[in-house]
Every structure is written in structure tokens, then in C-alpha cells.
Amino acid sequence: MRLAQAELRRLFLRRFTRWMLLIAVLVLSGVAVTAAVSSTPNTPQTQAAAQVQAEQQAREMAEQHRRDVAECEAARARGEDVTQSWPPDCDIYDYSGEVQASWFLPYEFVFRQEFGSYLAVFFGVLTLVAFLVGASFVGAEWSSGAMTNLLLWQPRRLRVLFTKLGVLLAAMTTLTLASGALWTAGFWLVGRFGGRLGELTPGAWRSFGLDGLRGLTFLLLVTVASFAIASIGRHTAAALGAVVGLGMISEVGVRILVESLETPFGERYVLSSYLLAWVQKSYTIVDYFGCPDGAACPERTLVLTWHDSLLVLGVGAGLTVLAAALSMRRRDVA
């Protein structure tokens, strides 16, 4: 418990953590403020103004149409070829009747429809922060030698490693839940006073809740993986390097390999398929190599669900933690 207290203090004393949190707050505040400022509630006044603008636009378009028809017919009377600029017989379509008042309504934020996208932005920013803070929390400790000092006080190495990880995950969960509550409340207020809430049924809230839970789980898995990789590599940069390396292998190497081998549903071996399935709840892979040469056949598809992603990402994170624990237990600290 004492170690956990010390590690919690250490986490938030670190300037890197503070800077990352500040950057996250600024970015997220910027997004929220932009949404709030750009949204205007749809009122009778804005609708009336839009109607006036639409009628004006329709009149201008009708006038333009009349001018075009007249010009076209005059040209035809002169024996000119009008088909270069107009339809034959000067049958120019009049779009003025299609102008709608809704085109001229200002942007209105609708919470029910749009909050899901903003939730994705929120988790995107926080996951990036969690990745960097997680890697740095142990990586910088190793590279600065502070970990060696700590081990002179707490020689149970696995206890040190897992206390650090536990503190990190607890801190990230708390921060995410607290800031997530603020994020939701903020956008609810934007919808309530600067836009529209839409139909907020219990089902809608449950859907947002599940999106949030999926986002939090992904954030924690990324945190675990970055922490473990940085611990194995004893440097923050190890986690960054691993991401670049994994990206190159998965997105370039594996893609080239499965395409050259014409592997059925080859994308299932590519990591980004599982990330997409996680974000979108499912991802459909089409087997482009399923039909014989040139022949037509029914399209074959494979649907990856977020459950598949959870399995892949969870096993990946688990294996990195296992490797980090083995490495921590066995290594000579020079």
C-alpha cells in the first residue's frame, strides 16, 4: 500500500504526465468549445430567416433560368449550335423549385446523433495520452536509473512492476471516468442549450455507455501494452519503436504477403482490421480471391466483431505483460 501511494505520487509529480494531461485537456476543451460555438439552436426565428434566404435563392435561380433560356433561344434563332453550352431545344432544367429552407439553417448539434463521434474523439485523445504516459512511467524510470534506486528499497521486483502497473491503470481509469463524465455533461449542455438533445431513450444512453466501456477497455489494453513494452526495453522509446515496428510488419509486410499468396480473407491477419472492428463494432472482410480466374461467383465475406478484437488485443496485451514480468524477474540490473 505504501508503495502504491508512492507510485501514485510519483506518477502525478512527473512533468511528462502533467504536460500530457494538460495537452489532453486543451485539445478536448478545444473540440468541445468548437462544437458549442458552431451550434445554433433551431428556433422559429432561424427557420424564418432560412425560409427568407431560400425564397430569395429560388427567385434568383428562377431569374437566372429565364435569362439562360432566353439567351439559348436567341442563339438558336441566329442559327448557332447551342449544344456546346445548353441542352438541345434549350430545355434547361429549372432548379429553383428544389431550394429548401433547411439548406440555410445554421449548424445545430444534435446530441443523440453526434455524441457517439465525439466520444470516439475523446477516447482517441485519451488513449494516445495513456499510451505515452504508460510507456514513460516505467521507461523513464529504467533509463534514468530511478528504478534501480527503487529496487534498493523494494527488492520484490514483481511487486514493484505490478504495483506500478496497477497504479497506472487505476489512475487512468479514474481520470477517464471523471473526464468522460465531464465530456458527456458538456455535450449534453451543448445539446440542451446550443442545439438539440434528440430522442434520448434508455437505449440511447445504454448505447453510449457501451461505447464508453469499449473505449475504456481499449485505452487500458493500450496502457498495459505500452507499459509492458517500455519495461522490457527499459526505455520509453521502446514502446514507440514497437508500435512503428508492429505497424510496418502488420500493415505493410503481412498485407503484401497475404495478397501475394492470395490468402482467403487475408485481412484477418492484419492488426488494423481488429482495430476497425473494435471502433466500428464490426468489420467485414471480403474474399477477393474466392472466385476462379475471371469467373463470377457469390461474394464471400467474413465479419470480425469487437469480441474477436477483444480476444486478439487482450491476448496481445497479456503476452506483453507476461514477457515484462519474466524479464523483470530474471534480468541483472546493471
Binding site: 505504501r2 534514468s144 529496487l151 528499497w153 540490473v333
Partner: protein, 315 residues
């Protein structure tokens, strides 16, 4: 095993794909009695730091036995670590924390009362810079901070690897006085240092290690005495020095010639020199045991590790 710190037949071999196999410790043994300031000396790469790292659980030994304060290591290290303060090689701290934050975090992790932080900062003379970031500290200040961190626990055993590294003469003196006062309070101190004059002034006993093996151990006085017995300074008339050197060498002694005297070793008794030279009408004007210090003993014993023999001076 009765000492505060006992090491028996410790072995460690590092294996690396790039650098191959390197034996760091080859059956090393060492014993430190309670309340002693014990000098742990050896050339670079002799196995000192590896020994200390193994003691502190940072490196795993291949074989051997160790006890600290009667507890067998490494199994009992978690139980005993609270009574052992250690500084191994260069002190390393997180650069963006202040000195006080650094110690405070260690104190929290180790369950040490927070008030100890200011006490030890005062003790090492860092109280007025405690709020500065460690990255702004000089090497000497970091060294003091490291020593302060070892004292936080009020340890019974203090292991210090090169604690005077980076300190100016005034800092070295302060460190010496600090260690004297700690030793006076009954703390057992294991001190590894290259400043042999300091070790000689400060330590009750020493162990010298070379090539992973103990070459000598005992009290400082005993180690000096054991290694000065057959080194004699011989003065004669200057023109007779070459002849005397040749004569003694031919008779089996080891002779080093200097411009006004000879240093003779490898003889059984001093009388043999006077008798041998007198038989050829060469008369000695001075015959004295060569005064040696720990530095010369150290260089003598570790100069050629391959031929160094294991010696334990009886205490």
C-alpha cells in the same frame, strides 16, 4: 558465519552474445564484523560492484552463500533491506524531481516517517538546495543526495560504492566526518573507494579483490604489516650502489635501484644484507623497513591479478 556481512565462495559469470563469457567473480569470500568501517578495494573490473549488486539483489549470483545481519540472501533480502542502506556506483535519480521529492518518494515507498527527509538533507548539507531539481545538481550534490537516500532508513549496515566520487576536497572531508560519526554510532559501513588514502584513514579493516578473487583481507594495520615485512631501504655510498645491487641480486634478493638508495625485497632477514655487503667491504649507512601505505599494497597486490595469491591476515 558470524559477521554482519558474510560472503562465501561467490561466483558470477556474465554471458553476452556480443562480448562473450566473462567471469566477474571466481569464488570470492568476504566477512565484515559488526561496527566496523570495512574498505572494499579493487581495480576497475575486479568484481567489486558485481559483489555489491549481488548482495543487494540487483544481480543474481551463479553460486555462493551470503548473509547480511544473519539473514541468508537473496531469499531474505525483502526482510533485511530495511536495515541496509546502499549506494551502488553513480547515483541515478529522476532528473526532474527535486531532491526533497526524490527522498520523499523513497521514504513513502519504504515506510519511513516523512520528517526523516529533512533530517538527512541537513545531515549531508543539502537542506538549502532541497527544493531544486536534481538535474541542476552537480555530481557532488547528487552524490550527497544518494548518501542521504541511504541514510533515510537509519540502516544498521551501510554499503557505499565510491561515495566521494565527484566531491571536492571539502566535500570529501565532510563525507569522511559523516562516516566517522555514523561508525561511531555503531553503524557497520562497507566502503568501496579508489581514494586509498581516505580508506586508510577511515577503515578498520579491508578486503582487496582482483579478478573476482579475494587477494587479501584483515585489519588495515595487519594488511600493511603483512605486506611491508620484506621491503627494506638500503643506503650506501652512492658510488657503491651499482656494485651492491649486483651483489645482492646475484645472492638471490630482488633489488630496485634508485639514485641514492636501493629497495630490497625477497630476503629472510635484514642482517643478511649487512653481512653480505660487509663481506665485500661495502658498509650500509641506513637499513630501514620501507614505509608503505595502502596504495602501494593495493598496487602490489592487484598489479598482476594472475599471480595474486589469496591471503587472509589473522586477526
Amino acid at each position: 558465519m558470524t559477521g554482519v556481512l558474510e560472503i562465501t565462495d561467490l561466483r558470477k559469470t556474465y554471458r553476452s552474445r556480443r562480448r562473450g563469457r566473462r567471469q566477474a567473480l571466481d569464488g570470492f569470500s568476504m566477512s565484515v564484523e559488526p561496527g566496523q568501517v570495512h574498505g572494499f578495494l579493487g581495480p576497475n573490473g575486479s568484481g567489486k560492484t558485481t559483489t555489491l549488486r549481488i548482495l543487494l539483489g540487483l544481480v543474481a549470483a551463479d553460486s555462493g552463500e551470503m548473509t547480511v545481519l544473519g539473514e541468508r540472501l537473496p531469499d531474505a533480502l525483502p526482510q533485511v533491506i530495511g536495515r541496509v542502506g546502499a549506494l551502488v556506483e553513480s547515483p541515478q535519480f529522476f532528473p526532474n524531481f527535486t531532491g526533497r521529492q526524490t527522498l520523499s518518494l523513497l521514504a513513502t515507498a519504504g515506510g519511513v516517517p516523512a520528517r526523516r527527509v529533512d533530517d538527512v538533507l541537513e545531515l549531508v548539507g543539502l537542506a538549502d538546495r532541497a527544493g531544486d531539481r536534481v538535474k541542476g545538481y552537480s555530481l557532488g550534490m547528487r552524490q550527497r543526495l544518494a548518501v542521504a537516500s541511504t541514510l533515510l532508513k537509519q540502516p544498521q549496515v551501510l554499503i557505499l560504492d565510491e561515495p566521494a566520487n565527484g566531491l571536492d576536497p571539502s566535500g570529501i572531508r565532510q563525507m569522511r566526518e559523516l562516516m566517522r560519526s555514523l561508525a561511531g554510532a555503531g553503524m557497520t559501513i562497507v566502503l568501496s573507494s579508489h581514494i586509498l588514502g581516505e580508506v586508510q584513514q577511515l577503515c578498520d579493516s579491508v578486503t582487496i579483490i582482483a579478478a573476482g578473487r579475494r587477494v587479501v583481507s584483515g585489519t588495515v594495520a595487519q594488511v600493511l604489516a603483512a605486506n611491508t615485512a620484506d621491503a627494506l631501504r638500503v643506503r650506501l655510498a652512492r658510488e657503491e650502489l651499482p656494485g651492491a645491487a649486483a651483489l645482492l641480486t646475484a645472492a638471490g634478493a630482488v633489488v630496485n635501484s634508485y639514485h641514492d638508495h636501493l629497495v630490497v625485497t625477497g630476503i629472510t632477514t635484514p642482517e643478511w644484507i649487512t653481512r653480505t655487503l660487509a663481506e665485500r667491504q661495502m658498509y650500509v649507512s641506513e637499513l630501514t623497513p620501507l614505509p608503505v601505505d595502502l596504495e602501494s599494497v593495493f598496487l602490489q597486490l592487484t598489479g598482476d591479478p594472475a599471480t595474486a595469491s589469496t591471503t587472509e591476515v589473522s586477526q
